[in-house]
Symmetry: C2
């Protein structure tokens, strides 16, 4: 079965009439576009352009996951997340990028990498796309977090994390998806 | 085990020095805040304030899911998603909101609602929080989509959707989470 069907595109597509740059920041590029709807009427879309990102669920031989607890300013909370990071460039090799983020944030390297697909964080208003990986065959090394990055790294059994996701205790979207995918792959 | 640990907050917290309004749109409110990092140095955060949203995975007695195919302008693609929508007000009752969105977008009402927890779409730069529900005991009615909303509604077996998520064919984050949660709850 084909799920990413594009056949409806012709009668559903919205076309750009004009585009205004609202803000060109370090992370966020905000635009407001005037568009034509499929019925011919005009509307607008407020959109975020994002460079893209990668994340990884690193699972040990004992089915423990290397997780991070990190303060997130927009929500004023410390939450549990898997290692992740923005691309350095839109065309950066995503596997190289995720290997760098894992090494810098946790010190771990991995022998086996499995592509878990990607996710759009908020396709109604953002083009952010995060490519997800499962890493196994882990080796511990030295951490090199980015400047201004403060995070606690620890190990938690995947079974406990899957239960926590089901209980609504892991709010980060990419982390929920990778935990549930890894649990399903590993039969946990 | 407690996953939403706040004990690290004191030594990881970033404090606001100043806040600048960049853009106050219909959907997106963009701010740039100057902050103090835990080590005392200054930095900044580009952040999105979002009113919040709800979504629902409606599952029939035959374990089929009511899904939508919708054009998303920021990614110029038609993608498969579960019914969802923004809150009308930050303090709107989320169950009322999700019942309205299900009815308007698909025509369905439901007898049984299960809270599946929430998700932060992109906690590094946005406070958007989506509360997720599982709806069962469905009854079909009339659709009343919002003006400017063009979407195709159909039914797909949950088992096929779970396989599609595992194959990376369902890119929307909230849709992936709800499919995997529903599949885990229903043993599919």
């Amino acid at each position: 079965m084909q799920f990413n069907v594009e056949r409806e595109l012709s009668h559903m597509r919205e076309t750009q009439i004009s585009s205004e740059d609202i803000f060109h920041g370090k992370i966020l590029h905000v635009k407001k576009d005037i568009i034509r709807l499929p019925d011919g009427s005009e509307s607008f879309r407020e959109i975020i352009r994002h460079i893209g990102a990668v994340c990884v669920i690193p699972v040990t031989e004992n089915n423990e996951v290397i997780v991070e607890r990190q303060y997130r300013y927009p929500i004023d909370r410390v939450i549990l997340e898997i290692p992740a990071g923005k691309l350095d460039a839109p065309d950066e090799n995503r596997l190289s990028a995720v290997q760098r983020e894992l090494r810098e944030e946790t010190g771990y390297t991995a022998d086996e990498w499995t592509d878990l697909g990607g996710l759009y964080s908020a396709p109604a208003y953002s083009d952010e796309y995060i490519t997800m990986y499962l890493a196994r065959g882990l080796h511990r090394g030295e951490r090199h977090p980015d400047e201004g990055e403060f995070l606690d790294v620890s190990r938690v059994p995947l079974a406990d994390l899957a239960q926590a996701v089901m209980n609504g205790e892991i709010p980060d979207a990419k982390t929920q998806i990778c935990i549930l995918k890894a649990a399903r792959i590993l039969g946990i």
